[in-house]
């Protein structure tokens, strides 16, 4: 049994669950059909909750409709499992929950929808329900913290990779002498920095989400920024996917709009790679790979995002330039001149020169 606390919210969530179930029972006793009311967000006219207003309406799920009856049944089952998790101080992923009653749930997305509904109903985040995904982020550098009853001292060995803690609410005693946080998109770049002993020469913390960052990585980053008030620089490939990852760190993902305010890190700055870098650093033209049709489609879809114009017009301009030039540039292309160019000149040069947007 895991001997860790799930944060101070567990008793609150449990009492809310009891409250909901009690109201359903009261309905039944008074011979009323039980129902549950949820706030719904309309995605089309959705503007980021942190920036502006959102268009919402209330949806009532009750036993009046047969399809609703099934949804209510599934929601109650998932609620029962979540209650168990909270009471036993355990954590499970969405997949684990599906496997508890596969004959009833029939599909994973049914469980995912129920969990989203429950989050809205209880007005809390998924991790408050002890529903956590498997973590995949890595970090290294000048930071020290306690995770539950374990002490992580990354300062003693700044070039060793540590997994990002999954239960971010249990992280305490966060201490660091770093000057900034560097977020890298890919694990291979993280390895390159570790191999070049980047953290020994530069006082910083390096984090990677190994692609699209998961919830724990984003939350941990937010925690670092809030507690330590450090600037955050992000190093991604100069292609639509890299920019999408950058935007996920900064604005949150489109899928989890409700949680976005808890996980977005507005302080993220784009350090590189810019489309203009290949001229500035005289990279051979052969290093630029052409954009594929999927890349173009993705870039086009990203340009439609409403928050881009309002909150990050510089990024929008660079994305348009990328689409216009029709080429993309990966971080590894910077190593063509010299293998240690990235860690010895590019990154420190850009940070000291303040060349980031």
């Amino acid at each position: 049994m895991a001997g860790r606390s799930s944060g101070s919210k567990a008793p609150e969530v449990l009492s809310k669950i009891r409250g909901i179930v009690r109201s359903l029972v009261v309905d039944l006793c008074n011979k009323r059909l039980p129902s549950v009311v949820l706030d719904r967000y309309r995605r089309i006219a959705w503007i980021h909750p942190v920036i502006g207003t959102y268009f919402s309406w209330k949806e009532a799920i009750s036993f009046y409709k047969e399809s609703h009856a099934q949804r209510l049944d599934i929601m109650l089952r998932v609620l029962r499992i979540i209650q168990q998790l909270l009471q036993e101080n355990r954590h499970g992923s969405k997949r684990d929950i599906y496997y508890m009653h596969p004959s009833v749930f029939l599909e994973q997305k049914v469980v995912d929808q129920a969990i989203k509904d429950i989050c809205i109903l209880l007005q809390c985040s998924r991790h408050n329900l002890n529903v956590v995904p498997v973590g995949k982020g890595l970090l290294m550098g000048w930071v020290r913290f306690t995770d539950g009853d374990r002490r992580f001292d990354c300062i003693r060995s700044p070039n060793t990779a540590y997994p990002v803690p999954v239960h971010v609410e249990d992280v305490e005693d966060l201490f660091s002498v770093a000057q900034y946080v560097l977020v890298v998109e890919k694990e291979t770049v993280f390895q390159r920095l570790a191999n070049d002993k980047f953290c020994e020469k530069n006082q910083c913390v390096v984090i990677t989400g190994r692609g699209y960052p998961d919830v724990s990585t984003r939350r941990f980053l937010k925690r670092l920024v809030e507690n330590l008030c450090l600037p955050v620089y992000c190093l991604v490939d100069c292609d639509p996917y890299g920019l999408d990852i950058l935007m996920t760190y900064r604005f949150g993902s489109m899928q989890m709009a409700f949680d976005a305010s808890l996980m977005c890190v507005p302080e993220v700055r784009w350090l590189g790679v810019f489309p203009s870098d290949h001229e500035k650093y005289s990279l051979p033209d052969r290093c630029l790979l052409p954009l594929s049709p999927e890349d173009r489609m993705k870039a086009g879809a990203m340009l439609q995002r409403c928050y881009l114009q309002k909150k990050a017009p510089d990024w929008r301009l660079e994305l348009e330039k990328m689409l216009q030039d029709g080429v993309k540039c990966e971080i590894e292309a910077l190593s063509v001149a010299s293998f240690s160019f990235l860690s010895e000149e590019y990154i420190p040069g850009k940070i000291q020169g303040g060349v980031h947007i």
Binding site: D96, Y98, P102, S103, T188, Q191, N195, R286
Partner: protein, 393 residues
Amino acid sequence: MEETDLCGSSIFRCDQRLCSADVLPSSEVRARMEVSVLNFLEFLTSPSPAVPHLSLIKRRLDNTGLRQGLVNDVSSIFLSHSFCKRSLMRTKEAKAFIRVWKAMELCFQVLERGKQVTQRELFYRLLCESPDYFTSQAQVNMAVQDLVALLHCTRQSLGIMASSRGAISGRLKLLDPETGVIDCSVLGSAGYAISGDLNLLQKLIFHSDARYIIVLEKDAIFQRLVEDQIFNQIPSILITAKGYPDMATRFLLHRLSREFSGLPILALVDWNPAGVAILCTYKFGSASMGWRPCDVRWLGLRSEDLPSLPVSAMNDLTARDLQISRSLMSSRMLPGPHRAELEMMAAMGKRVEMEALYYRGFGFLGKYVAQKIVRVLHASRVRVLASESVSTP
């Protein structure tokens, strides 16, 4: 097999029968590169000059054999002494021939500077320096594979960084000469991240009071067992490669099995052909780098567990599953019990994941592991005790 082929391979190895990739220091690898260049020049400047072909070990299944351990029950596959040739004289292979030398040149420079590179960085370098020969990542990968086969060393010895997704947890203390002692039982649900650097893994010193080593296919199961702290109830070391095992995880497992030779190694994989393939990789090694086998026993899921699982937890086999199953069954090295399980999967057309055990609650996984260990390892002892209790009135 001709004598010339044997002589060709004996430039580097004394034992021609056993070909495995070695973890070598940079100076040794550079020396081997220099020897191969000198050999090439010797052919060119000989009285009857010729361009020699490259003898690369055939890294295919038809060149593998199964060797039974003499003292223990560990079988391992090995690459035999059959070679394929890359020749400059054949138009289709000419570029591939040159690519190997170009890759060798770059790796030599990398090793000289004491650096390490990723394959992607290699690609960009070669793309810029030799655009006529390298146009895609796949060509770079193939050239590196050929180089590994030519020099009989691991990719990492050439200076190419390897990543590892593996993690380890449980009753194990690792002593790293540089960072100190790491106690894997108090590291949290993610465990200790296994480094991709084989040299680092080579230097680790182990201390353990575990009685079993449990290999997990999936990260989710690993994290569940670590969170439940199963290693406190069943003294064990938990290790996972989060899918298909990478070299570093296998290397570490092999070292652990050598260090603690009395510890049985038990594997928990999904009941599907991919799970069986992962099991076989741990057990025998891999055809493209045949080495470091471990005596891994299949703990679960097995077909005997199926009757107690809900039918809805079973999914259909996909086309890819059937492909993997066919290729596994075509190998004569597949052990009988594995073959029987694969045949049952194909007959039922179903596969089951380990999470199906959650239908009895999250805590059931730990109980399942305990029950299986008793059944698999201590069955004979239980039978003896049972027969004794029956015989006494």
